[in-house]
């Protein structure tokens, strides 16, 4: 499994909330694999179609209820509370079959606990693979909330260059996260 961290996912979520399609596609793609593992473990790998249904339901719930994500709180805690809710609901509907599943419901996947200390480092690591000025532009505009004009001034480039740079940077970032994942499977 890729070492996608809380803060990487959170950056993708924040970008998605701002309407960034590339980041959103990347986020859903990573989460989809996390969920397949999460539900697969709890339902047994044989229940492939049930796992797929739950994965889809959960991604849809994330989409329809993303308004309830608090930008100041950890993303994975929010997301896996939804995943757990869907699992409990699944057990309720199927008549409580799979007692083991219910017991395992409460634990979060390894490595997805609140980890504020390393947050800043992870974001740096995520952006490190990009050309310096692109990383800088993404940091300024997407994370610090400054205007394109300010970022352009800072980078000494035109506004349209900055916009293109941010767009390409995020695409590259998404590709990198996906690549990380594929290597692992």
């Amino acid at each position: 499994m890729p070492d996608v961290t809380e803060s990487e996912l959170k950056v993708l979520m924040l970008l998605s909330l701002d309407g960034d399609e590339a980041a959103y596609r990347c986020l859903l793609d990573v989460l989809r694999h996390l969920l397949e593992r999460y539900y697969g473990r709890r339902l047994g790998r044989s229940d492939r179609s049930e796992v797929d249904d739950l994965v889809q339901e959960t991604l849809l719930a994330l989409h329809q209820r993303r308004i309830t994500y608090d930008r100041d709180r950890p993303f994975t805690a929010w997301f896996f509370t939804i995943a757990r809710h869907k699992l409990v609901d699944h057990h309720r509907r199927t008549g409580g079959r799979g007692h083991v599943g219910l017991e395992a419901v409460d634990e979060m996947p390894d490595g997805y606990r609140e980890d504020a200390v390393s947050a800043q480092m992870d974001i740096q690591r995520l952006l490190a693979g990009l050309p310096a000025w692109q990383a800088e532009a993404i940091r300024h505009v997407r994370l610090d909330g400054r205007s394109i004009t300010e970022a352009a001034l800072h980078a000494g480039r035109s506004e349209s260059m900055v916009k293109v740079g941010i767009h390409r940077g995020i695409k590259a970032l998404a590709a990198r996260l996906r690549g990380d994942h594929d290597k692992d499977e």
């Binding site: 998605s16 909330l17 701002d18 309407g19 399609e21 959103y24 596609r25 859903l28 793609d29 989809r32 797929d52 994965v55 889809q56 991604l59 849809l60 719930a61 989409h63 209820r65 993303r66 308004i67 309830t68 994500y69 608090d70 930008r71 805690a77 929010w78 509370t81 939804i82 809710h85 609901d89």
Partner: protein, 215 residues
């Protein structure tokens, strides 16, 4: 597998930006028509209290109005908590208890100042004790609809708890609206019959939550 890919593409295509305080904005959008409808019920179905001009100089009038308003605000704060996955509004319960204790203390003070047993009786029972809780249930109904509309668009993970909180907020705000039409000045009356109306609305909300807040 491919179905999941298709779903992801559909969701990406449907992506719209979400502002920072969007959840509170959604609640506000639900409350405006709810409050308006509830106010109309009192204005046109019941009428403002006839002596409103004089009542605004009576401290008890403002206590009667502040009590449900405070409960309503506490309820709305708790509502924003239960609307998020895993949200537990523990602080809210304590605040409700404090507000109620304050009201009871003021009610006791008012009872002590009563000149006659007749006056005491009136402070407790008023002349509208029997239908006051029912009116509060009625003015709470549009707000219950509003808070449920809001919760069905958010992500409460415990339906009964979320419904209960919605019922509390709706009942308390409904009682606040009614406080502008109600002719009573007795704080013991408020502590008993207003509270009963709010409790009924809270219980109704909890019951409704079990059925309508599953997702």
């Amino acid at each position: 597998m491919t179905k999941t890919n298709e779903l992801i593409e559909d969701l990406v295509r449907d992506l719209r930006p979400v502002r920072r305080h969007a959840l509170a904005g959604l609640l506000a959008r639900a409350l405006v028509p709810g409050l308006a409808l509830s106010a109309c019920l009192i204005l046109f179905g019941h009428g403002l209290r006839p002596d409103l001009g004089a009542a605004v100089f009576v401290p008890a009038f403002w206590v009667k109005s502040a009590y449900p308003l405070l409960l309503g605000l506490i309820g709305l704060g708790a509502l924003l908590t239960v609307a998020r996955p895993g949200g537990r509004p523990l602080g809210g319960a304590l605040k409700v208890a404090i507000v109620y204790a304050l009201l009871v203390a003021l009610a006791v003070l008012q009872m002590r100042q009563a000149a006659s047993p007749d006056e005491s009786h009136r402070l407790v029972m008023g002349i509208s004790a029997l239908y006051c809780p029912l009116i509060i249930l009625a003015t709470g109904a549009p707000l219950l609809a509003a808070t449920f509309w809001f919760l069905r668009r958010s992500a409460p993970t415990s339906p009964t708890l979320a419904g209960t909180v919605a019922g509390l907020a709706a009942g308390a705000l409904g009682a606040w609206i009614y406080s502008w039409g109600c002719i009573e000045n007795g704080l013991p009356f408020v502590a008993l019959w207003y509270t009963l109306g709010i409790v009924l609305c809270t219980m109704l909300g909890g019951l409704m939550g079990r059925f309508w807040l599953r997702w």
